[in-house]
Amino acid sequence: MLRVDRLNVIFGLGAAKNHAVKDVSFTAARGDSFGLVGESGSGKSTVLNCISGLLANWDGTIEVDGSPVFHKRHMSFYRKVQMVFQDPYGSLHPRHTIDQTLKEPIAIHRLGDANRRVDRVLREVGLGPRFRFRYPHQLSGGQRQRVAVARALILEPEIILLDEPTSALDVSIQAEVLNLLQEIRAERNLTYVLVSHDLAVVSHMCDRIAVMNRGETVEIIDRRQLQSGSLKERYTRQLLTASKGYDRAAIDQFQDF
């Protein structure tokens, strides 16, 4: 469904040159959930921005549904690939009601039948019709993120890119949103690409996971490996240890990679 081959991103020129993504390759089949994990600055969000089209200065190949995408996206691309952003407080227009936010993509793609679509997608993400004419400031963080998911779903895409979808949320809300995402994926047979620094989230959500460090893929592992801890690379093991909480003895042994 999605194939990324030798993706390279370089920011800046000369001394300020920053090779943010180096030869990253992976594939995700239809219905798959693929995870990208790594520390801050490892380039995982940059990969996502290249796929979504927010970044244009990349080299390599990105294929969606068997056909390569170009730097300038065609309108049909947006109906196939949608994205959910990290910060639910910044991703909704503050002066638009939920109704307006959800109707906008329908108007752009001239799909018609707006009221029924909005109503259905709101139910699907677990927000009733009573939320429909509220402004974002009248919603909680979790509710806003549900609206963001609804906005991604309304164009009926096949791939959804999730950029740390729960890291800005309360722990109690995180599980709710993750379960919602899982249900929707099963129901619609969607392909997910999930970026996260949280290994627990990734192991809950993803079948296969690419571990990234300094712009490179360290290794690609599956969920079973992550849960059993049978990891090849030392960096991945260190990341796993770090994710288990603060441990003085473990931290003293950490290395820079």
Partner: protein, 305 residues
């Protein structure tokens, strides 16, 4: 249902957390803004003065007791009296009637300037801020050129080139007052354009036209409305200044600036000639400033909680 119950019902309808329609949501938001605005007493005073100005302008023929341009040399330079409330000027014209009719000219100037300058400013600013790069450079350098001249001097130059008259004064003031709006709109756009909600709409396939007009402009609009309202006082003063210099409205039209100019030579012996139109300019300018301050508290996104 009693009156009180009806009012309470309307309040509940406006303040509900679960509006049933887009109209109800918008009405509720407007009502909250209105409540906040009415907390500011001075702003309400400003609003009342401006409403009075508008009413005066509309009903000028009914309010003014005399013809504002009819000269009566036998009656020139009469002091304040029950017959001539604000006295008469050097041509024997009733000053009160002239001020009442002059309110039309004042409103005409500020409305036209706002209608011309604000859209130009917001368009230049948002386009320049959204696209950036060379478009931004070109548009902002043009803006800088206009900003580099003092407003009144540039307006004077334009009027001198176009010829005196109220229409040309309006064009000149409009040409000189859009650049600050462009600057404000650009600054707002720069903070908005990289926010996630703009990225989200871009990822849904929206083109620049839709993003600028439907997503960026509404967010720039509130600070722009505030700025335009605060600028109204400046516009009135510039129009009056042009009138004072003889480049705005031409005699015998009752423009307030031209009236102060005519009264200048009588300032020591017949003080009312210059004081009355001067006071009118002062009161209306002050009212716009007060209103602008009140609007800022309600509309400015930075003061939102």
């Amino acid at each position: 249902m009693t009156r009180k119950q009806k009012i309470q019902g309307a309040r509940a309808w406006l303040l509900t957390d679960t509006p049933d329609s887009a109209f109800q949501a918008a009405a509720g938001r407007f009502y909250l803004g209105l409540l906040e605005f009415f907390h500011n007493r001075l702003a309400v005073v400003g609003l009342l003065i401006i409403l009075a100005l508008i009413t005066t302008a509309i009903f000028a023929p009914q309010i003014a007791p005399f013809d504002p341009v009819a000269t009566d040399l036998a009656n020139r330079l009469q002091p304040l009296s029950a017959h001539h409330w604000f006295g008469t000027d050097e041509m024997g014209r009733d000053i009160f009637s002239r001020i009442v009719w002059g309110s039309r000219l004042t409103l005409y100037v500020i409305i036209l300037v706002a209608v011309i300058a604000a859209p130009v400013g917001i368009l230049v600013g948002t386009v320049s801020g959204y696209f950036g790069g060379s478009i931004d450079t070109v548009l902002m350098r043009i803006t800088d050129i206009f900003l580099a001249f003092p407003k009144l001097i540039l307006a004077l130059a334009f009027v001198a080139a176009l010829g005196p008259g109220i229409e040309n004064a309006i064009i000149a003031i409009s040409i000189t007052s859009w650049p600050p709006y462009a600057r404000i709109a650009r600054a707002e756009t720069l903070t908005i354009r990289n926010s996630d909600f703009i990225r989200a709409i871009r990822l849904q396939g929206a083109g620049p036209l839709r993003i600028i007009t439907k997503h960026i402009m509404p967010l720039c609009l509130s600070s722009l409305i505030v700025r335009v309202t605060l600028d109204m006082a400046g516009i009135i003063l510039t129009a009056a200044g042009l009138g004072f210099l003889g480049l705005g409205a031409q005699p015998p039209s009752p423009e307030w600036g031209a009236m102060t100019s005519a009264g200048r030579s009588f300032i020591l012996d017949q003080w009312w000639l210059i004081t009355m139109p001067g006071t009118a300019i002062f009161v209306v300018s002050l009212a716009f400033n007060l209103l602008g301050d009140g609007l800022r508290e309600v509309l400015d996104p930075k003061s939102d909680s």
